[in-house]
């Protein structure tokens, strides 16, 4: 497959077979990460490799009910690492204060995402599957404690990797023309917006079961392995929250608006605990 085809066909994989990833493949994933673009080539990045059964279980316990974290033979914790940069600067008799510079933070975070996406796409090219777990951001204090992460280092992204049990269909996406603007931003009218999202998701009440089973096939499979009943619970919640459409499903159930806004203070607090204050 070409690079383009790999990118078009990627989707998150959450069910892995019980097969270790060869050491030379892991080395390549890490080299791809290390050679990712970096603003000013500062490389404020650290990657913590999680392979041992014991560490996988500790990590999974912190992340919460996502069995793929425990089941994946390999996870990588991508950290924004200003500790090393600060120490290097101090030893070089110059002050570096990335922890007080929103600019350094934003570019450093971009760096670690380039590295993470390099890993994800290199993994695809080796027939591996992977899944991003952004919810690690809600547990940074615990992750920092569990992995002996020092001040000025933030574990901002988690990627779990393994050989896929099966390769599910790709997820529905907005039509490309919805996200692309020529020479300047064009504001979509309400009809076009509704049409764009209906094209993406299909009508909600038409067949919510089929949608859930397609979109969450891997969650369901992983959940079944843990003898859970995720789908039943979700459908119950859809009913009790009186969810009428896909936007309500997202912002009432998956990412409830009030909770998402309220979480902001927790995220800032965890950043302050790591010495970051803007």
């Amino acid at each position: 497959m070409t690079v383009f085809e790999l990118m078009i066909n990627r989707r998150s994989v959450r069910v892995f077979i019980d097969k270790e990833i060869p050491e030379d493949v892991i080395e390549k994933l890490l080299n791809a990460a290390n050679n990712a673009p970096s603003g000013g080539n500062i490389q404020p990045i650290s990657i913590i490799i999680v392979k041992s059964k014991e560490t996988r279980e500790k990590l999974a316990k912190i992340i919460g009910p996502q069995p793929w974290v425990k089941n994946a033979p390999l996870s990588m914790i991508f950290c924004l690492d200003f500790y090393r940069v600060k120490r290097w600067a101090a030893l070089s008799k110059i002050d570096f204060q990335g922890e007080h510079s929103l600019g350094h933070f934003l570019i450093g975070y971009a760096d670690i995402m380039c590295a993470a996406q390099n890993v994800v796409m290199t993994a695809e090219s080796f027939q591996l599957g992977s899944v991003y777990i952004g919810s690690i951001q809600g547990t940074m204090d615990k992750i920092r404690e569990c992995f002996s992460i020092p001040k000025y280092v933030l574990p901002l992204m988690l990627v779990s990797i393994g050989y896929p049990k099966s390769k599910p269909e790709t997820m529905p996406k907005l039509e490309k023309n919805i996200i692309v603007h020529n020479e300047k931003y064009r504001i979509l009218n309400d009809d076009d917006i509704l049409k764009a999202y209906n094209n993406k998701y299909g009508e909600f009440d038409e067949d919510v079961d089929a949608y859930l089973e397609k979109a969450y096939i891997e969650v369901l499979e992983a959940n079944k392995q843990e003898s859970g009943n995720w789908l039943k619970l979700v459908k119950k919640r859809i009913k009790s929250l009186d969810i009428q459409n896909h936007a309500q499903f997202l912002f009432k159930l998956r990412y409830p608006t009030e909770a998402m806004v309220k979480q902001t203070e927790l995220l800032f607090q965890q950043m302050r605990n790591a010495g970051f204050k803007f």
Copy 2:
């Protein structure tokens, strides 16, 4: 070249030949972006395509003295777009407040970086070169005005793309083992930190000319085309600032610590101007 080889051999390209990128290649770059992973598949992303000579010049004028922005046949402005998500949610009778949720902001920014890195790597596979321009973040107000970008949309990353005039050597990187940690974070001692950076950059005073000419070969070439004298100016600044090593070069000259910390308020202000307040 395999995906892995493409990633190992990529470096930023800033000097382009005068050759347009075929429309079908641009379509593929955009499809690769649109199929990038997205947290919750929310896709809070817009990409503004800059191709016309007129828009390229306007963009380059805002970005400042980086001639590659004007000279690249194609630039893409990657925007975090909560405007469309908010409108969709409102039309669906649910409130979405990504502009007040640091969590939504951080995951949305990760989304646009995955899309941007997909574009960069797909471009490599088509023999194109590209360069990230993170300094767009310092000019968000002007970019929003120039490109008619509405509230709740932040132009957070710029990528300029074209056919390379030549392919310079890759940049020096830290040894992989410096950024990789097994099962838990290990703190490097001072000797190891200094050694790691000396291995990356070489001794500073040994041959700063050779280093500058290698690391900035493309900046120099682009600058020569504009009949500038960048190298001479940089060397003068190195002398007047009494710069003794690579860390001082970075954090006295390129990213001066005080200015980087002070810029934080400007960045927050620009975000507030776009309706973002956490």
